[in-house]
């Protein structure tokens, strides 16, 4: 092991910034990070062991204790649930004879849930040793169980288990044609770098990662910083449940994305770029590396690109299971080999980003669009869309519809149009923008996709009338509690409290005061959290409570208060040990005589009259 670890450290030039990449390799080899490895790395990278442990314990894909030689993770996205995930997971656990969350006694296999793996159009999905599994059903599970028990190496598993489809059903401005390699760079150099920035500006392109900041302005700010070193980062963390368009773009349009990054580098004067690829997309890694190599061979990356004196290269860094690393400053921390904890702002990444240097962070789709704009000019893009939202938006559509997949629409398109195209009927509502976005009801389908109306990073999950909205809220609320980085109090504690409160209501223990308490808590988490995760974590509750107050009220009992835990259940151990089961050994969840009715509370202060 010493030699193995020394080798990895050497390949990574003993750089602590590469800690995540190093740990990924160790985890993949040993299925955990052994104590001896921590000790050794601490010496080789000259960082305290505590720093290594805090990274291991932050990311879902790293472990301090051994996982199975086959690490099976099943996606816990609401879309997987809608496709029957729960039954499948139970079936898998039973077949493998391992509990969810545990390692089988022989150490061969471990099973666990994981946050959305970005396969919502082809779920239920999972990961085995980091590689994506799609379209799970009983027969593929039977096969997997057999392969595991036979200890077949992954490369001997049937390819169809790992088949990932693009499912592009509607293409527009961006997806219609594949750009020729080098075309955007050639146009940019021909037009001139400054003039190209002016075209990006004219195009009105705004960031596609969610916040919608104007791209040209970001690039401009970065280029104006008085620093000689700058960086370009492509955010391919795509962790928002229900989003998978960046996966498709990197699978089939990667050249164009890299080209967008290179154009950006030429404009801002960066020599180094990073593609931060979520760990769940490991299956794309080799392909992307070979595209980068090809580009180097073709003079589109490396030194003196297209003989224009531009030096720029791109490195791919893999994440390790943390939604928060999609937040740009957390992403930068992660790139630096640390836990993904959002930084204090200001300073923003454009002034102090990677290693404290000015850094542009953009979404995959943003770079893709920028490359097209470099070729076709700003007007070509700005002619389409609405006043404040130019061009098109690529949607990831999943949930209850006939054709889940990728759809590209001009901004301004109505929800109804989208629903018609993907074959969705009997729709109850749509979650636009993922759990951090908005739930809209079937009364609002004339609303439009646009920053000025329904802004979205691209997640579009459809629910038909057989679905229970509270199940969705429950799933999303658990997602945020699981993904909170824990840095700030309102989100660390607040998301867990939201989870407790929602569980209480969903499980039928809610009482009159609970919805008020819930609303109050939502506002607290929203208004006081440090970053976008906490600030949006209450959105599933807020947006559904606004639209379906009855849904919540109906779950509440007409009493002033009910415990949030199972009272009678809390006596189980004592009953068993005392060997009792008489009436006195049980407790009703609510008072038999009925606790005070709501109306007589709060008590009046004018007592004794």
């Amino acid at each position: 092991m010493r030699q193995f670890i020394h080798g990895i450290a050497e390949n990574n030039h003993y750089q602590a910034t590469h800690l995540l990449q190093i740990l990924r390799q160790i985890q993949s080899r040993y299925h955990y990070i052994p104590e001896a490895a921590i000790e050794q790395l601490s010496g080789l990278l000259s960082i305290p062991r505590t720093q290594i442990i805090s990274v291991i314990e932050f990311y879902s894909f790293f472990h301090l204790t051994p996982r199975g030689r086959y690490e099976l993770l099943i996606s816990d996205s609401i879309t997987d649930h809608m496709l029957g995930k729960k039954d499948l997971l139970d079936y898998l656990a039973k077949k493998l004879a391992v509990a969810v969350g545990a390692v089988r006694e022989d150490g061969l296999v471990s099973l666990e849930n994981t946050s959305c793996t970005g396969m919502c159009d082809q779920g239920p999905a999972g990961l085995v040793n980091g590689y994506a599994l799609t379209r799970l059903d009983r027969s593929s599970i039977d096969k997997i169980v057999e392969l595991v028990n036979q200890q077949k190496p992954l490369d001997e598993w049937p390819k169809e288990l790992f088949l990932v489809n693009d499912n592009i059903y509607k293409s527009g401005l961006l997806l219609d044609r594949q750009m020729e390699q080098g075309a955007a760079l050639k146009s940019a150099f021909k037009r001139g770098v400054k003039a190209t920035l002016a075209e990006v500006d004219k195009s009105g392109l705004r960031g596609r990662g969610g916040a919608g900041f104007k791209t040209a302005t970001k690039w401009q700010f970065c280029s104006e910083e008085q620093q000689s070193v700058r960086y370009v980062v492509c955010n391919a963390d795509e962790g928002e449940p229900g989003t998978f368009k960046d996966r498709v773009l990197l699978n089939s349009y990667a050249d164009q994305v890299f080209e967008g990054m290179t154009v950006c580098a030429a404009i801002i004067g960066a020599k180094q770029g990073f593609l931060y690829l979520r760990g769940e997309y490991l299956h794309l890694y080799d392909k992307l590396q070979s595209i980068l190599n090809q580009r180097r061979q073709n003079g589109l990356l490396g030194t003196n690109i297209l003989d224009q004196g531009l030096d720029f290269d791109i490195e791919i860094c893999l994440g390790a299971g943390a939604y928060i690393c999609g937040e740009e400053s957390a992403l930068i921390e992660s790139l630096e080999g640390k836990a993904g904890i959002p930084r204090n702002r200001p300073p923003y990444p454009v002034t102090q980003g990677y290693l404290g240097k000015p850094t542009v962070v953009n979404n995959v789709e943003t770079f893709l669009a920028a490359a097209s704009i470099a070729v076709n000019g700003g007007d070509w893009f700005a002619d389409i869309g609405t006043e404040k939202s130019k061009g098109t938006k690529i949607l990831s559509i999943s949930g209850d519809c006939a054709r889940p997949g990728i759809y590209e629409y001009p901004f301004g398109t109505t929800i109804q149009t989208v629903l018609n195209d993907c074959g969705a009927d009997d729709v109850l509502g749509v979650q636009v923008g993922g759990p951090s976005g908005t739930f809209i009801s079937n009364q609002e389908f004339d609303r439009k996709l646009a920053f000025e109306d329904l802004a979205t990073g691209g997640s579009f999950i459809i629910f038909n009338s057989s679905r229970n909205i509270l199940d969705m809220v429950h799933n999303f609320t658990h997602f945020f509690a699981h993904e909170s980085c824990g840095f700030c109090t309102p989100c660390r504690v607040g998301t867990s409290l939201l989870q407790k409160q929602i569980d209480k209501i969903v499980e039928g223990h809610g009482s009159a005061g609970d919805v008020v308490a819930l609303e109050e808590l939502c506002q607290l988490v929203k208004n006081y959290s440090h970053c976008g995760l906490g600030q949006t974590a209450a959105n599933p509750i807020i947006t559904t409570l606004e639209r379906y107050p009855d849904l919540y009220q109906n779950r509440l009992k007409e009493i002033s208060y009910e415990p949030g835990f199972d009272l009678d259940g809390a006596l189980t151990t004592a009953r068993r040990m005392a060997n009792r089961d008489d009436a006195g050994a049980h407790l009703a969840q609510t008072d038999a005589f009925g606790s005070r009715p709501v109306a007589s509370l709060p008590p009046s202060l004018a007592v004794g009259e």
Binding site: R49, S54, E57, F58, E483, S484, G486, F487, T489
Partner: protein, 239 residues
């Protein structure tokens, strides 16, 4: 002309590079805080210092002061919400003040007193956490840690060591120490380290000193934290 901000209507001068917290405290205006101490790099995690800057919530300890900012600090809404954030800190750990050596000297408790917090409001988590009494002179009671990272910063920035770190994610955050055994006795911590004295709560304690001052005569028994904080952290405030 020096630059100024206003806090609750009061005009307060500041120097370039100062945060709202720096400017306020220097001018004798207390903003509640737990994860902040002026000698250390601001952290911005507890969110107790949240103020409204031109209508937007910001952490005073990290947000730079800028000319003309209109800051609200002592409003009913902010006080109520800060109380709830404090209650969150109480329920996520195990704070049984009657059995805590730090009672009366504890900043978490003092802030709670200052905000007139009478109950916990939220359900309690009762997490299962350890006490590390392995070291001869210094002990860590994880039940009371609020993850302010002051000990982490003090150890790194002042003591030139890295005894402490915060590990884990979300609600599973926890303090770890720099030793293979995971025990304080195997670290290079010393009772003279600043890190051993900086903890705002009773999570890091120096052994055998707890009851030198009787309960009832402790720092916050008679003085509110706003006064204590201004006097100790900004002795020259208002000059």
């Amino acid at each position: 002309m020096s630059k100024t901000i206003t806090i609750d209507g009061k005009v307060i001068p500041f120097e370039e590079g100062q945060t709202i917290m720096d400017a306020a405290m220097a001018a004798g205006v207390y903003i509640p805080h737990l994860c902040h101490q002026p000698e250390f790099t601001p952290h911005g995690s507890c969110k107790l210092c949240t103020v409204k800057v031109n209508g937007r919530n910001c952490s005073a300890c990290t947000f730079p002061a800028a000319d003309g900012q209109d800051v609200l600090n002592h409003t009913e809404e902010l006080i109520e919400d800060r109380k709830k954030i404090t209650q969150m800190l109480f329920v996520e750990g195990n704070h049984f003040c009657p059995s805590c050596e730090k009672t009366g000297n504890c900043q978490l408790q003092a802030v709670a007193y200052h905000l007139n917090m009478l109950d916990n409001h939220f359900p309690l988590f009762y997490p299962d956490r350890e006490v590390d009494a392995s070291h001869d002179e210094v002990m860590v009671d994880h039940n009371r840690c609020i993850f302010c990272t002051l000990c982490v910063r003090a150890s790194h920035e002042k003591d030139g060591k890295d005894v402490f770190a915060i590990s884990g994610r979300g609600i599973h955050k926890h303090l770890i120490v720099n030793a293979e055994s995971g025990l304080l006795k195997d670290t290079d911590v010393a009772a003279t380290d600043q890190a051993a004295h900086i903890c705002p709560t009773g999570a890091i304690l120096i052994k055998r000193t707890g009851y030198q001052v009787p309960i009832g005569q402790r720092i916050y028994d008679h003085q509110q934290i706003d006064q204590v904080s201004l006097a100790t952290e900004h002795p020259k405030h208002g000059e």
